[in-house]
Symmetry: C2
Subunit: 264 residues, 2 copies
């Protein structure tokens, strides 16, 4: 079992991703779509806002209007577009959000500390959550019938049964752990973890598990979330995480061959 | 097997619908969401436009921008909201669009005649389609695992594998026919087919199959599409279609008891 997280952004990559997916079975695909969420939010006059935790993680500030936008852009636009593109490449994809069949259930973060200038504010109306459970039965049923599940945020709030936002890399990590996946592949638009983010030749070929915390301190932005997701997947029993380049041909099998940053 | 088409508009109805759904099994839910599509289209500066066929049917003019809006509002917002609301009422719902697992595949209408004033124009860039096939295996698999599929537009274009819009009542009729459903229930915000649309007391209790064409000539707007869907379901072997009131308590079982307009 493999879990492949793809960026849902660049339509040109879907055919590449599809090629590998047809051969790498069984697999579950996870995607985000922050570019689409940002674009829709801006077009609707509700520009994206972000929170920065005291430990330096950046996350979307998802108020009541923003969670609707997340649902529309991710479960509506990106998931439908990705599933259609996979069908066009003979991958029998079925799109799901975490809400479907209680696939991913979590708990809302009711108090989030956010650094603003030299102050720390506490945010109470954010509709993002911490994952508590994954309904692997729904995934196994679809896989047994030959389908490839394609999963996106939102997830379901265990308490009020409303949608919650969640980081897609960490969603992929939880799904990989729950499925006892052999590997988690996080495809992105750089060759892997780079010592200098502006220089692809500084890609780190391998990060031993023991060094992950040190790397976490060093990197910023989206890559920091990917390393956090990688650490969660390893802690959840996934033996190997590969951060690979979605732009090269056949990116899934390249990553599984170890091209990119291998974390184990 | 029952197919229940609900209006995805008024959240207050979901709990009512859920009550009946828990008891009426197996069943498949279908929904539209034209109010949500119109609202999103307007908010995005792309106001809804409609086409009127020479025979008097009104349909959404779905150009390239509009099909994205349909996906976001229906598969994103309405489907996620309905599935979450059903979960809150102990209905194990799984949302799907026609794109998922090639659930509903169709053919794009490449030339649509539209009446504009005293002229008939031919529209070539509309991304709406005619349904050609339903993948009942995907529905049966989910039903066998105890889930209730909740299906919305868009569907998948058989030729270019892009999303297509389709009328939700007619989508429900095709799914009911494909599943050899015992009944198709079309829930709406009026008590049934009314001789005078402004007077609920003029509801028609029963329409024999032979009289359906005569009724089709008489009614306008959304109800005309429902009668067309009813005629397609009957032609597809569904023995009974009930157009019932979604606003009353336990609307699914009320409709199945014959409350509303029974077409058989």
């Amino acid at each position: 079992m493999y879990v492949i997280k793809v960026g849902g952004r660049d339509g040109n990559d879907f055919a590449n991703v599809a090629e590998g997916l047809r051969e790498v079975r069984p697999s579950v695909v996870v995607h985000g779509g922050s570019t689409a969420v940002d674009a829709l939010a801006t077009a609707l006059g509700h520009p994206p806002r972000f929170l920065t935790s005291p430990s330096g993680y950046v996350s979307r500030y998802t108020d009541a209007a923003a969670i609707d936008i997340v649902s529309m852009a991710m479960a509506g636009r990106e998931n439908v577009a990705l599933v259609a593109a996979l069908q066009a490449n003979d991958v029998p994809a079925v799109g799901l959000s975490g809400v479907d069949g209680r696939l991913v259930v979590g708990r809302r973060k009711t108090a989030i500390r956010s650094v603003e200038g030299d102050k720390v504010k506490v945010i109470h109306d954010d509709r993002s959550g911490t994952i508590e459970s994954v309904n692997v039965g729904l995934l196994h049923g679809l896989l047994a019938s030959g389908y490839i599940p394609v999963v996106s945020p939102p997830i379901l709030d265990a308490q009020d049964h409303l949608p919650l936002n969640v980081d897609a890399d960490r969603l992929a990590a939880h799904i990989a752990s729950s499925l006892s996946a052999k590997a988690l592949v996080l495809l992105t638009n750089v060759p892997g973890v780079c010592l200098d983010a502006s220089d692809p030749s500084t890609v780190v070929l391998s990060i031993p598990r023991a060094d992950l915390t040190a790397h976490l301190e060093r990197v910023q932005g989206g890559m920091r979330k990917k390393l956090l997701a990688a650490s969660e997947a390893l802690a959840g029993g996934v033996p190997r995480v590969v951060i690979g380049d979605s732009r090269r041909p056949d990116p899934v099998r390249a990553a599984l061959r170890g091209e990119g940053t291998v974390i184990a």
